[in-house]
Amino acid sequence: MTGQRSSKMAVCVAVISKENYPLYIQTIPTEDDLKFHYTVHTSLDVVEEKINNVGKTTNDLRELYLGLLYPTEDYKVYGYVTNTKIKFVVVVESSNTALRDNEIRTMFRKLHNAYTDLVCNPFYTPGDRITSRVFEKVVNAMMLQDS
C-alpha cells in the first residue's frame, strides 16, 4: 500500500485567487474532497503569514516558492505565490520521501507556467474558476504515477 502511494507525486493541487477563494482544486479521486478542501483552506493561514513576512524581513520579494507550509502526520503542504498573489498549494503524502524540495519546486514551476498560459487565453477572465482542459492535463500529470 505504501509503495503504490509513494509513487504518486501530489495528492491535491489547488489554485487560489488573490481574494482567497478557490479557482481550482483537484484531488486524487480516491480521497475525500472535503478533507483536502479543509487542508488547503487552512494552509492559507500560513501562506498569508509567509507573504506578510517576506515583505518585512527579507528583501527577496522575487522568491515565489513559500516552501513547506505545514506538515501533518500524513501530508505535507507546500505553497507558492505568484506576483499577482495567486496561490498554488500542493499536498503530498508524508510517506513520499522521494519528493524533495527540488521536485516540489519543479512542480510549482510547471503549475505556474500552466497558469500563465491560461491567463494568456483571451477567453479566460482572471478570477474565474479554472475549467481549462489544458491546465487540467498539467495538473493531472502531477498527480499521476511518477514512472
Partner: protein, 1210 residues
C-alpha cells in the same frame, strides 16, 4: 555529572590544595579565544577544569579513545625554596613524573613553582635560582611550560600579576591540548562512521562516541557545536530507517525492531536522561527510547541556546517522523500507544517551553506551539474515539481493557513523575479515566489550540478546530455552543468563497438549528441548501421538503411570519420597466418585468409575490426652462436625465457565494452594467470647459476589498418600507428562468425605484436584498413655464412681434387661463388680429405640424390680458403679441447724445407661475434727428438732419419746424423751408436733410429759439403713419461780428510768393447795435490766426486784442504778416475771434474785463478743440461771428530758389 576536563596535579599536594580554590575560581573568569583546526571559526570559550591528584590510572589506556574520562593536562606543583633542595629532591620527582608522561606520549604538562618574592636573589650569578634550574633541566625547548607564581596567598601586585600569567598560560595550553585531543577523537570517530556498512557496526556504539564529542562541546558551552553532533546522529539514523524501504536492513537495527512495551513521552526535565542513555549503552533501547533521548538532548541544547521556538518548531516534524519510522520498521504497538506517546510528548514540549522562556519569546514560538496544541488535541480526540470516551459513546469492556493496556505502557517513569505536578503523563491518565475527565481535557485543549491560533492570526485554523468542537458539542447535546462555532466558520467560508466547505458547514448548522428549534434560521439554511448545487440531489430534495414543512408548520403555529433571504434560492437577473412614454405621466400604465432564476431543484408555488417600490418625491424639474438656455454658465449640468442613484451598500448576493465555484467573494460583485452619465461643464463665457463621462457609483465598486471585513453585512434580512407595493397571487416558479410581470397605473408623481421583491409561502416570507442596479421610472413632474422671446431685433416706433411660449409641463391648462402683462411706460402690447396660437408637443421636434387654437384677449387700460384655451399637458403653446415702443422726443428728454436704443421691461402675472417674472427687451431707434445752425452774414438757416440707423426703410413725410416758445404772441418768426416737400426715404447710414431760413429782422430781441421738428414716418410698405418729434433750442444765434481776412500781395510783386512775407489784413466789423448788450463804449476782442502751419507761417504775433467799439457797423482793421510756405492756391488763414476778459492779476499783462456772462463752451467748438487757450478768453457762440472770407483762397507762387533757368530761343 560535570563534564569538566580533568587536570592532574603532581608534586606538593598540600601546596596545591591551598591554591586549588583560587585557581578554580580564576580559571573561567575571562573567556579566551579558541583557535581551532580545520579552518573552523575561532570561538571565545570559558575554560573550567577539574583538578585531580595525579595517579597512574588516570593515564589513558591503549586504544581507549574516550574523551571525558582522561585528563587533558598535567601539572606539577612545587615550592622548592632553593637550588639545593631542588637538586636533592624536586629534580628527581619531576624527572619521574615526566618519564611517566612520556610513556603515554603526553605533551600537555606544566611545572608551577610557588616562590616567595622576598627571597633574596643572587643577581650576580644568573641561572642559579630554582626556576632557572627547572627551566634548564626540563624546559630547554619549551620555556612556556614552566612558571613561577609569587606569594599566591598574599594580595600584592606581584602576586596578582603572576596569577594572571599562570591562568593565561594554563588556558592556552589547555586549549592546545583540547585541539590535539579533539582532533584525534574526531579522526577516530570519522573512521568509525565510515565503517557503518560493516556487519558488526552498531549505531548505539557509534552514538555514544559522537555524543561524547557533543558532551565536550557542551562542557565548553559550545552548544551550537554540540547540537550539530546530535543533528548529525539524527540524520544518520533517519537515513538508516529510510534505507530500510530500499531493503537494506543492517544487523543492529534488529534491536530497534523489538516490540515497544513502553510509550513514555518525551522527558525534558533533565538535560541528560541517563536512564535512556543507559538503555542505549546496553543496546536495549527501543526506537521510542532512542528517539526520545535524542530529541530531549536536542531540546536541552536548544534551551541552553535560548531558542525555545526552535524546540517548538522541531517538535511536530519530530513526532511525525517517529510515527513514520514506527510504520517503516513495522513495529507493532497496541492501538493508541502511538497517540499516547505523541500526546504526552507534545504536552511535555509545551510545558517545557512555557517554563523555559520568558514572555518576550511568546511571539517567536506561538506559531509553532499553536500547531502542537492542535496536534495534541487531535491525538486526544483519536484516543477518545478509540477508547469510547466521546460523549455519544459508552466504553465497552474491550475499550476499558485497552485503556488499562495503554496506561500500563506509560507507567515507567511514574516515580519521577510524582514530583512534577500536572505532568503530561498524569494528564493523560486522568483524561482516559472517565468520560467527564476526557471531556474536560479535550475542551481545555481545544480552547488552548483555538486561542493560540487566534492569537497568531491563523483564523482559518482556529475556525476548523471550532468546527470540530461544534461536532463535539453536538454530541454533548449543546447545540447552542455548536451553533456559534458553526456560524462563525460558515461566515468565513462564505466570505472567502469556499463553496464546498460552506455547504458542508451549513449542513451541520442546519441540523444544529433544527435541534435548537430555531425555525427562522433553520428555514434559512434549508433554503440555502435546497438551492445549492454542490449538494447531492437527494440532500437537496430533503432540504426542499424540510423548507416546505417548516414554512407550513410555522403558519400552523400561528407565529408571526418568518422572514428569510430570497437569495440565493431565487435571484433577480434583470428588471425591465416598460412605459408608454419616456417619462410616464399620471394615469399611464407601467409594466415591470422581473427575470428571476430559481435555484431549487423543484417547482415552488408561492402564495403571493410583492414588488416593493420606493417613491422619491421630486422637485418639479426645470428642464423646460433651461431648454431655452442650455448653457447655463459655470454650472455642472447633467445633460440627460438619468435615474438618480444613491450610494448604498450592495447586499445582493452575499449568500450567492454558497452557490459554488463561480461565486466569488461576495463584496466583489459588480453589476452587469454600470450606470454612466455624460457630463459637461460650461465656462462663464459660454464655451465648453470640459466634458466626460462619470460613473456616480464608482466609489462603491472601486472600494478596497479587504477594508470591508464586516461579517454582519448582508446577513440581516431587511424588509423595506415601500410606497407602492405591486402584488401577484399564486405564482409558480420553475427551476431555472422565470418571468414575473407586474402592471400598475401611475397615480402619483415622483421617482419610483424597484427596491425589493418579497415572496410569500404560507407564513414565510422571502425578501430579496435591495435590487441592484436600481431600476426606476420617473413620473415626470414639470411646472408650466411662460417665456417671452422677441422674434427679431426690436425697433422702436413701430409694432414688433414678441412670442409668448407657454409650456404646460404636467399641468393641463384650464379654459381661460389668464396671463396679464404689464409694461414700462411708452411700451404698449397689443394682441394681433387673428388671435391664433400654435400648440405643439413639448418634447417633439419643431417639424411637427402644430395644432391651432384660438385665444381671447382683453385690453384694459393699456394692460393686455391673454385668456388661453385648454391645452393638454406636455404641450407648448406659442402665440405672438405686438409690442410698440414709442420713440421719445430726445430733445425734450434731454437725452441728447449717441443713444440709439431704449430698454423696456415686460412682466406678466399668471396663475401658472408663482411670481411676476420680468423680461427685458431692447428696442433700437430706426433713425435719429440732429440739428445745426448755419449763418451767412446776417441770415440764419436751421438744418435738421435725419440719420437712418436701421436696415428697414422708412418713408418720411410732412416735415415741419415750429418755434414753440415765443415770448409774446405778436412776434412771429417766419421759417422759410428751402427743401422739397416730397416724401423722403431713410435707411441705415443715410441722412435726409431739411433746411429752413430764418429772417434776421424778425429775430431781433430773441435770445433763444425753441424749435420743434416733426414729421410723419411710416415703415416702407406700411400705411400707418406715425408722428416723430424732435425738439431743440437755438441759443446765441445772432451775428455780432463779421470777420474778413485777406492776404495781400507784398509790395513790388504781383503775386504772393512762397517764402516771402505778405501782409494779412484783418477787418472786424460789428454788425449789431450795442444797445442791448453793453454799457461800455468798447469791448476787448481777441483774435487768433488759425493758420495751417504747413502752409502759413505767422510772423510776428499771431494773436492780439483789439478794443471794439460797441456801436453798430464799426470796423477795426488789424494788419499782420504771414508767410506762405508752399506754392499753390492756399486757403486764407482763418482768424478766430473771441471775447476777452482781463484778469485782475497784476502779474498778467493782459487786461481782464469783469462782469461778463460766460458762454457755454459747447456752443462754439473752437478749431483746436481745446477750449480757450488764454485765461479770460471766452469763445463766441456758433453764429455770433460770421467769417466772410471762409473758403477763400490766395494764389501763391512757388519759392524762387535763386537759381536761374536759362531758356535759349533760336
Amino acid at each position: 555529572m560535570e563534564n569538566k576536563p580533568f587536570i592532574t596535579c603532581e608534586g606538593d599536594q598540600n601546596l596545591f590544595s591551598s591554591l586549588h580554590g583560587d585557581l578554580v575560581q580564576r580559571l573561567p573568569l575571562e573567556p579566551v579565544e579558541w583557535r581551532r583546526s580545520y579552518g573552523r571559526p575561532p570561538r571565545m570559550v570559558q575554560v573550567e577544569a577539574n583538578f585531580v591528584p595525579f595517579t597512574d590510572e588516570m593515564l589513558p589506556k591503549e586504544g581507549d579513545m574516550s574523551l571525558l574520562r582522561q585528563p587533558f593536562f598535567h601539572m606539577f606543583w612545587t615550592d622548592c625554596p632553593d637550588v639545593d633542595v631542588y637538586k636533592i629532591q624536586t629534580k628527581d620527582e619531576i624527572t619521574l613524573w615526566l618519564q611517566k608522561l612520556r610513556i603515554y606520549n603526553i605533551q600537555d604538562w606544566m611545572i608551577v613553582l610557588v616562590a616567595n618574592s622576598d627571597a633574596k636573589k643572587n643577581k650576580l650569578l644568573p641561572r642559579t635560582t630554582v626556576i632557572d634550574k627547572i627551566k634548564s633541566d626540563f624546559c630547554s625547548k619549551q620555556a612556556d611550560r614552566c612558571l613561577v607564581i609569587y606569594d599566591p596567598l598574599v594580595d600584592s601586585p606581584k602576586s596578582l600579576e603572576s596569577w594572571v600569567a599562570l591562568v593565561q598560560r594554563l588556558k592556552q595550553l589547555l586549549l592546545v591540548s583540547f585541539n590535539r585531543n579533539l582532533g584525534q577523537f574526531e579522526d577516530n570517530m570519522r573512521a568509525q562512521r565510515e565503517r557503518r556498512t560493516e556487519v558488526d557496526w552498531n549505531f548505539c556504539r557509534y552514538f555514544l562516541v559522537q555524543e561524547e564529542l557533543a558532551f565536550v562541546f557542551e562542557m565548553l558551552k559550545q552548544y551550537e557545536d554540540a547540537l550539530v553532533q546530535y543533528d548529525e546522529l539524527d540524520a544518520l539514523f533517519t537515513q538508516f530507517v529510510l534505507n530500510i524501504q530500499a531493503g537494506d536492513i543492517p544487523e543492529w537495527l534488529g534491536s530497534f525492531s523489538r516490540p515497544c512495551t513502553c510509550w513514555d513521552g518525551l522527558y525534558l526535565w533533565q538535560p541528560v536522561n541517563y536512564d535512556k542513555r543507559d538503555l542505549i549503552q546496553e543496546n536495549t533501547a527501543t526506537l521510542l527510547d532512542l528517539r526520545n533521548y535524542l530529541f530531549s538532548r536536542q531540546c536541552a541544547l536548544l534551551f541552553f541556546l535560548q531558542r525555545p521556538w526552535e524546540v517548538a518548531q522541531r517538535t511536530l516534524p519530530f513526532v511525525h517522523n517517529v510515527i513514520r519510522e514506527l510504520e517503516i520498521l513495522e513495529l507493532t504497538l497496541p492501538a493508541g500507544a502511538v497517540a499516547c506517546w505523541a500526546f504526552m510528548s507534545c504536552l511535555e514540549v509545551l510545558q517545557m517551553i512555557e517554563r523555559c522562556s520568558d514572555s518576550s519569546q511568546v511571539e517567536a514560538y506561538s506559531p509553532y506551539t499553536a500547531s502542537i496544541w492542535a496536534y495534541a488535541r487531535e491525538k486526544l480526540h483519536e484516543l477518545g474515539v478509540m477508547c469510547g470516551l466521546m460523549p455519544d459513546m459508552n466504553p465497552s469492556s474491550e475499550q476499558l481493557h485497552m485503556v488499562v493496556d495503554l496506561l500500563a505502557g506509560m507507567g515507567q517513569k511514574q516515580e519521577r513523575a510524582e514530583s512534577i505536578p500536572n505532568s503530561p503523563d498524569k494528564k493523560l491518565r486522568e483524561a482516559l479515566s472517565s468520560k467527564a475527565a476526557f471531556q474536560k481535557h479535550y475542551l481545555e485543549l481545544s480552547e488552548l489550540a483555538m486561542g493560540t491560533y487566534k492569537h497568531i492570526g491563523r483564523i482559518r485554523s482556529a475556525r476548523r478546530i471550532g468546527k470540530d468542537l461544534a461536532a463535539f458539542y453536538m454530541m454533548l447535546g449543546d447545540a447552542r455552543k455548536a451553533e456559534s462555532f458553526l456560524s462563525d466558520a460558515l461566515k468565513m467560508y462564505q466570505r472567502e468563497g469556499w463553496g464546498l466547505l460552506a455547504t458542508n458547514t451549513c449542513k451541520d448548522l442546519a441540523f444544529c438549528q433544527k435541534e435548537l428549534n430555531n425555525m427562522q434560521k433553520y428555514a434559512e439554511s434549508c433554503s440555502l441548501l435546497a438551492s445549492n448545487d454542490l449538494l447531492s440531489p437527494a440532500d437537496r430534495t430533503h432540504f426542499y421538503n424540510e423548507l416546505l414543512t417548516v414554512c407550513a408548520k410555522s403558519s400552523g403555529d400561528g407565529d408571526s411570519s418568518i422572514l428569510l433571504h430570497m437569495e440565493p434560492m431565487m435571484t433577480i437577473t434583470d428588471v425591465c420597466i416598460d412605459t408608454e412614454k419616456r417619462h410616464p405621466i399620471l394615469g399611464s400604465t407601467v409594466h415591470i418585468t422581473l427575470l428571476m432564476q430559481s435555484s431549487l431543484s423543484e417547482d415552488m408555488l408561492f402564495d403571493k409575490v410583492t414588488l416593493v417600490l420606493q417613491r422619491e418625491p421630486r422637485e418639479p424639474s426645470v428642464t423646460s426652462q433651461s431648454e431655452e438656455k442650455p448653457s447655463e454658465p459655470g454650472t455642472d449640468k447633467t445633460l440627460s436625465e438619468p435615474p438618480r442613484f444613491h450610494k448604498r451598500s450592495v447586499s445582493a448576493g452575499c449568500m450567492s457565494s454558497l452557490r459554488g465555484w463561480n461565486g466569488q467573494a461576495a463584496s466583489n460583485q459588480i453589476p452587469s452594467y454600470l450606470n454612466v452619465q455624460a457630463e459637461c461643464q460650461v465656462k462663464s463665457d459660454g464655451s465648453l470647459n470640459w466634458s466626460g463621462i462619470n460613473c456616480p457609483s464608482a466609489s462603491q465598486f472601486l472600494r478596497r476589498q479587504d477594508s470591508s471585513h464586516s461579517l454582519v453585512k448582508g446577513q440581516e434580512v431587511v424588509k423595506e418600507e415601500g410606497d407602492l407595493n405591486l402584488e401577484i397571487r399564486n405564482i409558480r416558479l420553475k427551476p431555472g428562468d422565470n418571468k414575473v410581470c407586474f402592471t400598475t397605473m401611475v397615480e402619483s408623481r415622483g421617482l419610483f425605484t424597484v427596491r425589493q421583491l418579497v415572496l410569500r409561502l404560507s407564513s414565510a416570507e422571502f425578501a430579496s436584498s435591495r435590487i441592484w442596479p436600481p431600476a426606476s421610472y420617473e413620473v415626470a413632474s414639470q411646472n408650466p413655464t411662460i417665456t417671452l422671446t422677441p422674434l427679431q431685433d426690436l425697433l422702436a416706433g413701430i409694432p414688433q412681434q414678441i412670442q409668448v411660449t407657454v409650456c404646460t409641463g404636467d399641468h393641463v391648462l384650464p379654459q381661460d387661463t389668464a396671463i396679464v402683462f404689464s409694461t414700462t411706460p411708452q411700451l404698449t402690447l397689443k394682441a394681433p388680429q387673428d388671435r391664433h396660437g400654435q400648440v405643439t408637443k413639448q418634447d417633439t421636434a419643431d417639424d411637427e405640424s402644430p395644432g391651432d387654437v384660438e385665444y381671447q384677449t382683453e385690453d384694459e387700460g393699456g394692460v393686455l390680458m391673454l385668456k388661453l384655451p385648454t391645452v393638454e399637458a406636455y404641450h407648448r403653446l406659442k402665440l405672438t403679441v405686438w409690442a410698440t415702443a414709442e420713440i421719445p422726443d430726445l430733445g425734450l428728454s434731454g437725452e441728447e447724445g449717441d443713444r440709439t436704443d431704449v430698454e423696456h421691461k415686460v412682466s406678466f402675472k399668471s396663475p401658472l407661475v408663482k411670481d411676476e417674472p420680468e423680461t427685458t427687451f431692447i428696442f433700437h431707434y430706426p433713425f435719429l434727428a440732429k440739428n445745426q445752425l448755419h449763418t451767412a452774414g446776417d441770415s440764419k438757416f436751421v438744418h435738421v438732419e435725419v440719420v437712418g440707423l436701421s436696415t428697414a426703410k422708412f418713408d418720411l413725410q410732412d416735415p415741419d419746424l415750429t418755434i414753440s416758445d415765443l415770448q409774446d404772441s405778436d412776434t412771429t418768426v417766419r421759417l422759410t423751408p428751402l427743401h422739397q416737400d416730397s416724401p423722403m426715404v431713410v435707411y441705415r447710414d443715410q441722412t435726409v436733410s431739411y433746411l429752413w431760413q430764418l429772417h434776421p429782422e424778425e429775430l431781433q430781441g430773441l435770445p433763444q429759439l425753441s424749435c420743434r421738428f416733426s414729421l410723419q414716418y411710416s415703415l416702407q410698405g406700411s400705411q400707418q403713419k406715425t408722428p416723430y418729434n424732435y425738439s431743440f433750442t437755438l441759443n446765441s444765434f445772432k451775428t455780432l461780428y463779421q470777420v474778413e481776412t485777406s492776404v495781400e500781395t507784398p509790395t513790388g510783386s504781383e503775386k504772393c510768393q512762397a517764402g516771402v512775407l505778405c501782409p494779412l489784413r484783418l477787418l472786424i466789423t460789428s454788425t449789431s447795435s450795442s444797445g442791448d448788450r453793453h454799457q461800455t463804449d468798447s469791448v476787448p476782442l481777441m483774435y487768433e490766426v488759425m493758420a495751417d502751419n504747413t502752409m502759413w507761417a505767422v510772423c510776428g504775433k499771431s494773436s492780439g486784442v483789439v478794443s471794439m467799439p460797441t456801436t453798430a457797423m464799426t470796423t477795426k482793421e488789424v494788419l499782420l504778416e504771414v508767410m506762405p510756405l508752399i506754392g499753390g492756391y492756399l486757403p486764407v488763414p482763418v482768424v478766430q475771434l473771441s471775447q476777452y476778459q482781463e484778469l485782475p492779476s497784476p502779474d498778467n499783462k493782459e487786461l481782464s474785463p469783469s462782469n461778463v456772462e460766460p458762454f457755454p463752451d459747447s456752443v462754439e467748438p473752437s478749431l483746436d478743440d481745446l477750449g480757450p487757450s488764454h485765461p479770460g478768453q471766452v469763445y463766441f457762440g456758433h453764429g455770433q461771428v460770421y467769417s466772410c472770407s471762409q473758403a477763400q483762397q490766395v494764389h501763391v507762387l512757388p519759392a524762387n530758389n535763386g537759381g536761374n533757368l536759362v531758356i535759349t530761343f533760336q
